[in-house]
């Protein structure tokens, strides 16, 4: 079966690499947008206890939504194709990053922040120089969760015409063509595992030296 899947890839390299590229584009795009939105939002909410609680509660609700449901809910509003898929995947990536950023910033020892203020750091200097670096390992753990979720979730983009490796899987299921199904499923699985490994390493290298156990 795997041999047949391999033969399929060799026979249709353009289709395979286009789908793989689309898969990575969707995932990376959604992750970058989610980081750009959720990290600053998490930092901003962390300063206000009530806003933080509301944001975390909302994000937790968002987290419980099944990935396919999110994609399905987006379709009637935004239609099908790349953009709606990107939008849905971004929604999927937001909660873990938002929750981890908000929590991590709030967990920074208040004595350290007090010392920073007392020595004459401005609010921006405290955020950039003290709070974010100390919170970074936890923020990055959220990014890692989001990355794996997005790479896995991107398989479902095929259902709303977003493309990616999911195309082979849906086609394979529809036609009961197992080799073709494997062409999508195996690389998608490897991509998820690889993403988790990669981000795990990044997380370690991003932890400031003084905070490493």
């Amino acid at each position: 079966m795997l041999v047949e899947a391999w033969q399929f890839i060799v026979a249709h390299p353009d289709r395979f690499f286009a789908a793989l590229l689309r898969h990575v584009e969707l995932s990376a795009g959604a992750l970058v947008i989610a980081i750009a939105l959720a990290v600053p939002a998490g930092i901003a909410f962390a300063a206000k206890p009530r806003a933080a609680l509301a944001a975390i509660t909302l994000a937790n609700v968002g987290r419980t939504l099944p990935s396919l449901a999110v994609l399905a809910l987006v379709m009637p509003v935004l239609g099908t194709g790349f953009a709606p898929s990107l939008f849905a995947l971004t929604l999927l990536a937001l909660p873990p990053i938002l929750i981890n950023t908000c929590t991590a910033i709030r967990q920074v020892d208040p004595e350290i922040v007090d010392a920073a203020r007392g020595m004459g750091m401005s609010r921006g200097q405290i955020v950039r120089g003290v709070e974010v670096p100390i919170a970074l390992p936890v923020i990055f753990a959220g990014v890692r969760t989001a990355a794996v979720q997005v790479v896995s979730g991107a398989v479902l983009a095929a259902y709303i015409g977003g493309g990616g490796l999911g195309d082979f899987i849906t086609a394979g299921i529809a036609m009961m063509a197992l080799p073709q199904l494997f062409v999508g499923a195996v690389p998608a699985t490897l991509l998820s595992i690889g993403t988790d490994q990669l981000f795990g390493r990044l997380q370690k290298s991003m932890t400031p030296k003084g905070l490493r156990a």
């Binding site: 020892d109 004595e111 350290i112 007090d114 010392a115 920073a116 203020r117 007392g118 020595m119 004459g120 750091m121 401005s122 200097q125 003290v130 670096p133 100390i134 400031p208 030296k209 003084g210 905070l211």
Partner: protein
């Protein structure tokens, strides 16, 4: 010099004033200890000086400048700040921690590196050994040394210290108190020092301000507070052993009686406190001993009766 005039602070929702019309002047180069029971306003008063807390009324002048006319961030860079939990930045090396304020003031790197080594040496830490370590690799006492070095980095004329030795074991604390007192004196810093430990206050303070419910109860030298407590509150606050505490503040050479022909078996150095001398006399069962001066020769005699006269409260 730090001048607080009619300083008032009420926290939102609080019934009484946290700081109640407080007027206090800390002369240039002196250590002023703020002390009192929890909730007396000592920490609040200190935190107003670098505008970590904004006052509701009254004025604060540091070196003649009204602090409300200065940008708070600029103000704080000109005032050293040390807190109990030290607040070292865990993700920065010891050198980076000490360099915090010089970096904010944008000194050049060579000057910062020189200053860091100078300060680590000043607080008794070998720069080569500790420069590149991280806070979690140091003991509590070492961290507090770094905390003080960091506060001294940009050579601020004024230092605020909030229970800096609170979290340190008694033996290390006593040593750090002695060392930092020497450093602060030799650098002629004007210091506001918050503590709840009366012994620490008596040891560290040139003057002690005793606060209660946000108001100043007594502001005087340690000797005067022990000799003439303003009221029953101060009297109970300094403790029933205040006569002995006074003796701890007096050097042997201040209670000398003239040498008589009689030779004494025991002697103490002229810098010994009367309390230590008395303890020594009780322990050895003697009534009198010689006091030796810097040259090692006897300069006078100390007697139990003479010490007792020093312990009695002058009316």
């Amino acid at each position: 010099m730090i001048e607080l005039t009619d300083l008032t602070k009420r926290f939102p929702g609080a019934e009484r004033l946290a700081v109640d019309h407080l007027t206090l002047t800390v002369p240039e180069g002196e250590v002023c200890v703020l002390i009192g029971p929890s909730g007396c306003g000592k920490t609040t008063t200190m935190r107003v000086i670098n505008r970590l807390i904004e006052p509701d009324g009254g004025t604060v002048r540091v070196a003649g400048r009204d602090i409300m006319a200065v940008d708070p961030v600029e103000l704080r860079r000109s005032i050293g700040y040390v807190i109990q939990q030290i607040g070292l930045f865990p993700h920065w090396s010891i050198a980076q921690n000490v360099a915090t304020v010089p970096r904010l003031l944008e000194w050049d790197e060579a000057r910062i590196a020189r200053r860091v080594d100078e300060l680590l040496a000043l607080v008794g830490m070998d720069p080569a050994q500790y420069r590149d370590r991280f806070p979690r690799e140091l003991s509590g006492g070492q961290r507090q040394r770094v905390g003080v070095a960091r506060a001294l980095a940009a050579d601020p004329p004024v230092m605020l210290m909030d229970e800096p030795f609170g979290a340190i074991d008694p033996i290390t604390r006593a040593r750090l108190q002695d060392e930092f007192l020497n450093i602060l004196r030799s650098l002629a810093k004007t210091v506001v020092f918050v503590t709840h430990d009366i012994d620490e206050a008596l040891k560290m303070g040139d003057r002690i301000a005793i606060l209660r419910d946000g108001a100043l109860v007594q502001y005087d030298t340690p000797e005067a507070i022990l000799a003439r407590p303003a009221n029953g509150f101060v009297e109970s606050f300094v403790g029933t052993d205040r006569a002995l505490k006074r003796l701890a503040l007096v050097r042997a050479d201040a209670a000398l009686e003239p040498l008589v022909a009689l030779a004494h078996d025991h002697a103490v150095d002229s810098g010994t406190s009367l309390r230590d001398a008395l303890a020594f006399m009780f322990a050895t069962g003697i009534d009198a001993l010689s006091v030796t001066g810097a040259a090692g020769t006897a300069v006078g005699v100390l007697t139990v009766a003479g010490i007792r006269r020093h312990a009695t409260t002058p009316k």
